[in-house]
Structure formats: structure tokens, C-alpha cells
Symmetry: C2
Subunit: 362 residues, 2 copies
């Protein structure tokens, strides 16, 4: 299901085979929580080089519901014939809805309905949604939780991982475990060991990018990633800035997902080789050059900074669309270049060059 095709120190390229084709790694997945990468069509995702997207099982379970999706499957529903991951949870969604977490599962009330989302139900939902890669349901304590809190939560995460694996009957769908354990290396180690005992098609690092300082993030990644097996895909959840992605590739991460490029686009920030900038700044009102001169995306080939500036100033939705296309293309193209660099044993240099230009912020 996964093969490593080239290595440079800990960085590697690989191929993840799913029911909907081959995903070349390291790869970046645009976030389509509710079955749509915000503002974009699947044709556009395809054109910019997207290999896989990640949707959210809990969101889709609530709306439109698995009754709807089991009839058509997520691929036909959103007109996407490449790989689809489903994230399991969505705690942020339901934290405000009287969420109660017990060992049995998640209980919450939404729109006057009581929901009881168990690991078994979570896997069943992902089966019915028809994603190519399912994620286990995990319990993610807040950043700053005590060792004891995290240790207790971890027991639940491990138990749920086992129940998810048991409930998973669809052989053509891959299932990934999620490593929790907060900022405590020994808990991370315990978690990996237990997940390996259960056995998964891939291993994700969860419970990071939830407010911790970047040094903490890197410290935990550095001690966690080497514990997961070399012959399985390694997925860092929720990480999306260019610098963090490149750093994590160095540590051996294969798969990324983040709303970073699209959320920034909707909030007027363009991501470019020369750093990020806000398109609404006054100086762009009559700047007829593209967002990034060397970029090959449709936005940069067809439109100027001045036009996108105007669209944002006038609150025209097309502005968000055009920047979303550019930002995603930029990240996906960076991944492509990273893969090429690793194959040519030049990733360290690529990363250094990239960061030098990228940090030269205006």
C-alpha cells in the first residue's frame, strides 16, 4: 500500500496506493471539511495538481448525513475521483454543544438532537462516506494539560484505536492510527507502541498545532516520528505553513493537511516565494503584475494584483477564489519541487534556498 521510492537522510519520497490511485509523497492535502475546498470546484483542484483532499467524518455524519452519502459516496458527491481522506472527529465543531467525552464515545446535543458518536460509529460513517483513508477516533487534550490528564486521555485514545480497528471491515479502505501524548515524549512512545501492536496502514501525529510554541512542536515531532515504522506513511495533521512543512519533511513526514493556504487566501493573504503579503495594501491598487511573477497558476497567468486588490476591497467573492487557487498551487508546487529535490539528493539545499527567499519578507 505504501512504498518508499527515494531517501535523503530522514526525508523520503514515496507512493501511497489507494483505491483512487497513487499519491506521491510528500504530499499536501487541501482541506474539504464539509465536502468542498472552500470556494473551489474539483476541476480547479485537479488543475492545480491536488492528489488528495481530506474531509471530516463527523461533519459529514451530521450534514448531509451518512444516509445521503452511502447512496452516492463522497467521490461522486463532490465530483472528485482522486484520493479522499476522512478525518474522524471535529472536536472544535462540537466543543460548544455540551460535549461529554466518556470511554464509550462522544455525547453532544446539536439542533435539539442528542448524538452519541462512538469509535465504531465513526468507522462505520467513514465506510459509508466511502473515503479511501479512514482515521481513528482519538481524544485530543488541550495544549497545557497536565501529565496526568494527558496520560488518562491517552488510555482512551489507545482503547478507541483498538475499537476502531476492530470495527473496520472494509478492506479496500486504509485506516490510519493517530499518535497522541501531548508534549510528553514517554507518552508519545507508549502510544506508538500500542498503535503498532494494533497495526495500522499509516501513522499520524495528532495533538499538535493546537497552540504550542513551534519549538515544542518540533521537539515532539523529532522524538515521535522516528518511532513509527519506515515502511508506513507518516502523516502530520494540521500543519500547513511552508516553513513547517519543509522542516517536517526533513524529519520524515510524508503527508500533510491544513487550511493554512485557503484560510489565508480568504483573509486576503497571498503566499509567495518572497514571503506572504496582504493583497489589500494600498500599494497594490495599481500594481498590474501578477501575485507571483514566476507562478504558473491560472490566477497569476490571468489576473493582476490590482484586480484582486479591487475584488477584496469591494468584498467580491471572486477575490477569495483567485487567491485560494494561487495559495494552494503555491504549496502543491512546493511539494512537487521537494519530491524532485529528494529524488536528486538535494532537499537540504532546496529547503535552504526556499527559506532564504521566503523569509525575505517585504
Amino acid at each position: 500500500m505504501f512504498e518508499v521510492t527515494a531517501e535523503e537522510k530522514d526525508a523520503r519520497t514515496g507512493k501511497l496506493h489507494t483505491q483512487h490511485g497513487v499519491v506521491e509523497t510528500p504530499c499536501f492535502m487541501p482541506v474539504a471539511t464539509k465536502g468542498t475546498v472552500k470556494t473551489l470546484t474539483s476541476d480547479e483542484l485537479d488543475e492545480i495538481g491536488t492528489q488528495a483532499v481530506i474531509t471530516n467524518a463527523l461533519h459529514l455524519y451530521l450534514n448531509p448525513g451518512v444516509d445521503v452519502l452511502s447512496h452516492i459516496g463522497i467521490h461522486r458527491f463532490m465530483d472528485w475521483d482522486k484520493t479522499v481522506f476522512t478525518d474522524s472527529g471535529g472536536f472544535q465543531l462540537i466543543r460548544d454543544f455540551n460535549l461529554k467525552i466518556t470511554n464509550k464515545g462522544l455525547m453532544f446535543k446539536m439542533d435539539k438532537t442528542n448524538h452519541f458518536f462512538t469509535p465504531e460509529l465513526c468507522i462505520e460513517a467513514q465506510n459509508q462516506i466511502g473515503s479511501d483513508v479512514a482515521m481513528v477516533l482519538d481524544d485530543c487534550p488541550n495544549y497545557g494539560s497536565s501529565y496526568e490528564t494527558v496520560a488518562n486521555s491517552l488510555k482512551r485514545t489507545i482503547e478507541w484505536a483498538g475499537r476502531c480497528k476492530n470495527a473496520h471491515k472494509k478492506s479496500e479502505q486504509l485506516i490510519f492510527g493517530i499518535v497522541q501524548g501531548g508534549v510528553f515524549p514517554d507518552l508519545r512512545k507508549t502510544c506508538v507502541e500500542k498503535l503498532l501492536e494494533i497495526g495500522f496502514d499509516g501513522y499520524a501525529v495528532g495533538g499538535l498545532t493546537i497552540g504550542e510554541p513551534k519549538e515544542e512542536l518540533l521537539r515532539i515531532l523529532k522524538c515521535t516520528v522516528p518511532l513509527t515504522p519506515k515502511n508506513k506513511p507518516k502523516y502530520m495533521m494540521g500543519l500547513g505553513s511552508p516553513e513547517d512543512i519543509l522542516e517536517s519533511i526533513s524529519l520524515g513526514i510524508d503527508i500533510f493537511d491544513s487550511a493554512f493556504p485557503t484560510r489565508n487566501a480568504r483573509h486576503r493573504t497571498a503566499i509567495t516565494r518572497h514571503g506572504n503579503f496582504e493583497i489589500t495594501k494600498k500599494k497594490y491598487i495599481n500594481d498590474f503584475s501578477p501575485v507571483d511573477e514566476s507562478c504558473g497558476c491560472r490566477t497569476c497567468k490571468k489576473y493582476s494584483k490590482a484586480y484582486i486588490h479591487h475584488l477584496f476591497k469591494e468584498k467580491e467573492l471572486l477575490g477569495m477564489r483567485l487567491l485560494s487557487i494561487h495559495n494552494l498551487y503555491f504549496i502543491l508546487n512546493m511539494m512537487k519541487n521537494a519530491r524532485k529535490a529528494i529524488r536528486n539528493n538535494g532537499f537540504d539545499e532546496y529547503k535552504k534556498d526556499f527559506m532564504e527567499k521566503y523569509n525575505r519578507h517585504e
Copy 2:
């Protein structure tokens, strides 16, 4: 500049030659007030068969300003290489901004700046924006105004039309006059006569679709359209529902513009052969058929009612986009069929058939 190519009673097909190509009439122009047809790119407009769009000179004069647009022109700015009309005014925009109308022009205060928008400035702006067809600045009294009010306003409209024509120096840009006169046939007649004395490349009917009952609209159209010359394009401003368009084609109208299809799309209403419907209705949650089975647009070829229903329920912008594409395609396709029918001397039958199906609302 304009040639009639076929006639069936008063209905006709024709070709309007502009600097950016040939517009086959009867034609419908999507509205791009601020230089964008809301949510769509120029590629999408092209794909669905758009021949021309209409932007708004006053809006663009205010933002991004003619300083910006004179450098690049509206076509390159919005990446549209076909015909662009510019509407002149935008009274709705400025009615709230202490608008004062004198014979000299429009005075209003916006963002702490005093503006004085004269007929001369309006034409200069349209020259600098670089549209293919400029519209004169007119004075449009509210529906319900007395004969005396409308007659006084009409004097101004006629005077401004003359000043606009005098100020218009760009031979490659066409300029259309606008017939005002409210619901009073004799004032409409006076206006046409005066505009003919000045001489324009086309004649628009303005001051309708501002709240009057449909019978009033048709009554005024019926007495106004025949007064304008046969060898010039006849433009009915702001009319966009399928039934109104087909009726007006029968009366000899060549050009239409309206936000009807796109505004309806953004407000969840799909326009189809079998009438209009709201995509958010509960029954569409698991309706996996396209919005219109027989429609050739990208939305109908790729997506189901269920998916668009889901997008609207989740307030995902892609829903507006997909319905905008469908609704515009539907209207543009109807225009194409209308042209074909006129050429085959079968327009009356086409209209009858269309309306029978269209009125069979669910």
C-alpha cells in the same frame, strides 16, 4: 455597426459589431457592476456562452478609479476579451449619499469626498475604462412620479444626452442613448425624437423595471420600441426573467442585461425549463439528479441537486457559484434558441412551448 440578419414579425436577429467582436442578438448580458460577474471568472463566462457583459461606469469611477483603469483597460483588468458595455449611472448606489441632482450633474458625498459627476465626466470615465459601448448619463425619476416631475426630469435627460454625445470623442467606442419618459407615452415619444436628432449608435429603454406592474412595463415597451429606428440595436435595460425577455424579443428588443439569474442563484433559486425552484427545499437532500436533466452546463454535468443543497445548507460559497453558472447558462442558452427560432421563422412557437413548460411550476 449593427445589421439585422433575420426577422419574424417584430422579432429579429442581428449582429452588433464592436471593437471586441460580434455580438449576436438578441443577446443577454450578465451584470458585472464592479468588474466581476459575482463569483465567476471570465473563463467560466466564456464557457457558458457569454458574448458581452455590462459593468458600471460610476461604480468603477469610484473604485478602483479611472486612474487605475485607464492604464490597463477594463478588458485586461477583468481578463475579458469580448464586448463590454458600461452603464453610466448607479443612482441606487448614491441615493443614500446626500445625492443632489442639478442640471449640471450629480453631486454626492462619499467617504468624506465630494463628487461631482457630470455627463462629460461620465463619458470621459467610460472612455478611460475602455468599454466597447458607452451609455449616456440619464435622469431616472422614481416610479409613481407625476407627469410634471417626469417631464421636468426628461428635459434634463435630453440635455445630458446631447452633452454626452458632444463629449464623446472615441470613435471606436459606440454610444447608446437612453429613452426615459416614465409611464407617459407622449413623453417617451418626445424623448425618442430628441435622441434621434442627436443621433446614437443604439437606443435603450430606461426607467422601467423600477417597481411598475408588468402591464405598465409592456404597455410602455409596446409604444416606445417601434419609435426607435429598425437599423439600430434596441436595448431593454434591467430586464432578466425568461418570460419578460421572450415577450420583449417579440416586441423587437435586441439586447438585455439583468442581475436576475445571478442574484437568484445567490439566493438559492435555480431557473430551469420546468420553472424555478429553491434548491434548499428538504426534498433535494438526497436527489442525486442534476438541477436540470437536459442542461449542458458544467454544474448539471458534474453535480447533483443533493450536493448543491448541501453546499447552501452549509453556507459554502461554491453553492452560489454552481447555481450562478447554471442560471446564466440557462438564460444564454434560451437566447441562442430564440435566435435560432427567429432565423427559422418559428419564434412564436418556441416562445409558446417554452412558456408552457416553464409555467408548469412545481
